[in-house]
Symmetry: C2
């Protein structure tokens, strides 16, 4: 690049007090208004952070090592940066911002680092978890829209740990998915499957995130839950989970995912279910009626909340593809 | 850990508006006041960032991938997170905060990602860069304290690229260090060596940081410079560099490192230097008088500036080992 064509002001003699403004200036030719805004806010917060903490070179280097280790322990089957985002409450926050829910709909929660894209499709009533040591669980659900109409043909990813609290991907010898499946809702909006009663489990604690939790004096447990992810054109994707009432970690989830509306009491199947679903007498039973929000409803709600937040910031902003950028016209 | 011993308030039903306070609460048992403060500020800025940008799930996932790739491309000889910190202006900022300089001393600048710990010790007048295509350069310097007294026995790391703009560690076949050395100042505070005239060069642009610069419409060049790092007990470590006057990138350094006081005009040796240093007639000549600050002076200046910044924040803080923590007594 010809340096004579670089149309930025001279960057020299940058100090604690003028560096931020100058980084904004050098980033200002960015052609995407959204990326420019994301960087402008990032640099401002990053620099304010260093100024407010008087960050030392040794602490900065410790952070460099921490982030490097977090990237390096990540793999196809482990995502330590998602875990980091989870334990800092960022994942729950981003889900809440991007997927606002009207009062009548099912709340979302954290995706977590264990969703995969290789789960097999199973038919209604299929077996999702094959662990012989797990306590058998019948899960019967419905999916409706906010007007109460059943939604058919929804693709539903479900995933859970085995009876020891480990996801399939946490086993070195994994040759195929287990404890996870993709289902479809039928024309009455129903789906059901056989899983196992979920158990509480520690998030992976042998990496940088585990070390951080220990330094903070925090435990690394998540309460028992089954993950659900719903997708159908015209609807906002719903990432959520169902938690068990009375779990010892119900009110201290390491990743802040529990919501009262997502806690269920397990039932035990009766005669009717034994016949209808072909399960054994005494099988534990999880029931839930999910409510999806249409894309349009979500888009409107998200835009309304975004503009409200921007007004509070006192910035003149507009929405481009639903996301705020400075309104410079 | 027994969940009954977890003395934090119930964490449930966390929302955009209450998640930040609750993450602070769960982190509050942390036994290190400094780490607790670092986390409290980190979580606040991270969450404010998401709220102010209305960060989308897709953008969050792009950031997760970016950070993971940044960790994974890093190795023993490449540090992409330092590079990221450099191009965001954070490295220069942290150096300025942690190593404040009285007016009479030599300014610091970015360490960069290419310092190594395996450079060989060379004697006075030794050859630091062996590239036969480089333009020979004589470098003669002095090291003094802020009172003007020469400082002997200072360990000085110097490093620079070859004539093509690459550091030794950027070559796959590197079997030993080149373009880098460790020297010692003599009892008159002098040190001198043979290097090559530095050239401008692009920072590594084949990784995540290079992609980001491209998206931002920024070039990836650094102006010609030689790195210097000074260490001696009783003195604050000085990380700095000398830049060449008139370099095409003098005022648009990709990592914000240039300071007017660190720009030098190259001279050409005369009869005297040819004899004194045993170099060839016409050799280019770089001269500089470095001034180190004592640890005590630095500690005092850093503390004074930290407390001034804390007052501006309106927080009641105290310094522990020179770094601010909330004053809760």
């Amino acid at each position: 690049m010809d340096p004579n064509n670089v149309s930025i002001p001279p960057l020299k003699d940058l100090t604690i007090d003028n560096i931020t403004q100058n980084v904004h200036l050098i980033n200002s030719p960015c052609s995407s208004p959204r990326l420019k805004y994301l960087l402008e806010r990032l640099v401002t917060h990053l620099h304010d952070y260093a100024r407010e903490t008087r960050l030392s070179t040794a602490e900065w280097m410790a952070a460099i090592h921490f982030l490097t280790a977090t990237g390096q322990i990540s793999s196809d089957v482990r995502q330590e940066f998602i875990l980091l985002s989870d334990i800092l409450g960022l994942s729950l926050l981003v889900d809440s911002i991007d997927h606002p829910k009207p009062a009548s709909s099912t709340e979302g929660t954290v995706l977590g680092p264990f969703h995969t894209h290789d789960a097999e499709h199973v038919e209604q009533g299929g077996t999702v978890a094959h662990d012989p040591d797990g306590t058998p669980l019948l899960v019967t659900c419905t999916v409706k829209d906010t007007k109460g109409h059943p939604v058919d043909g929804v693709s539903i990813d479900v995933w859970e740990t085995d009876s020891k609290g480990f996801y399939d991907v946490q086993y070195a010898g994994r040759d195929k998915p287990d404890g996870r499946a993709v289902l479809k809702s039928d024309n009455e909006g129903r789906f059901w499957f056989r899983g196992i009663v979920p158990v509480p489990y520690p998030i992976p604690s042998d990496g940088p995130v585990g070390k951080l939790l220990k330094l903070l004096g925090r435990h690394c447990y998540r309460p028992s839950h089954v993950h659900f992810m719903f997708g159908k054109e015209g609807f906002d994707p719903l990432i959520t989970a169902l938690y068990l009432r009375g779990d010892p970690y119900e009110a201290s989830d390491a990743v802040f995912g529990v919501k009262e509306s997502l806690i269920v009491e397990l039932d035990t199947v009766g005669e009717k279910e034994v016949k209808e679903y072909g399960v054994e007498n005494g099988t534990k039973w999880m029931k839930y009626d999910f409510v999806l929000v249409s894309e349009e409803e979500t888009r409107e709600l998200r835009a309304k909340e975004a503009m409200k937040a921007m007004e509070k910031l006192g910035r003149r902003m507009k929405l481009v593809e639903g996301l705020p950028v400075p309104d410079v016209d």
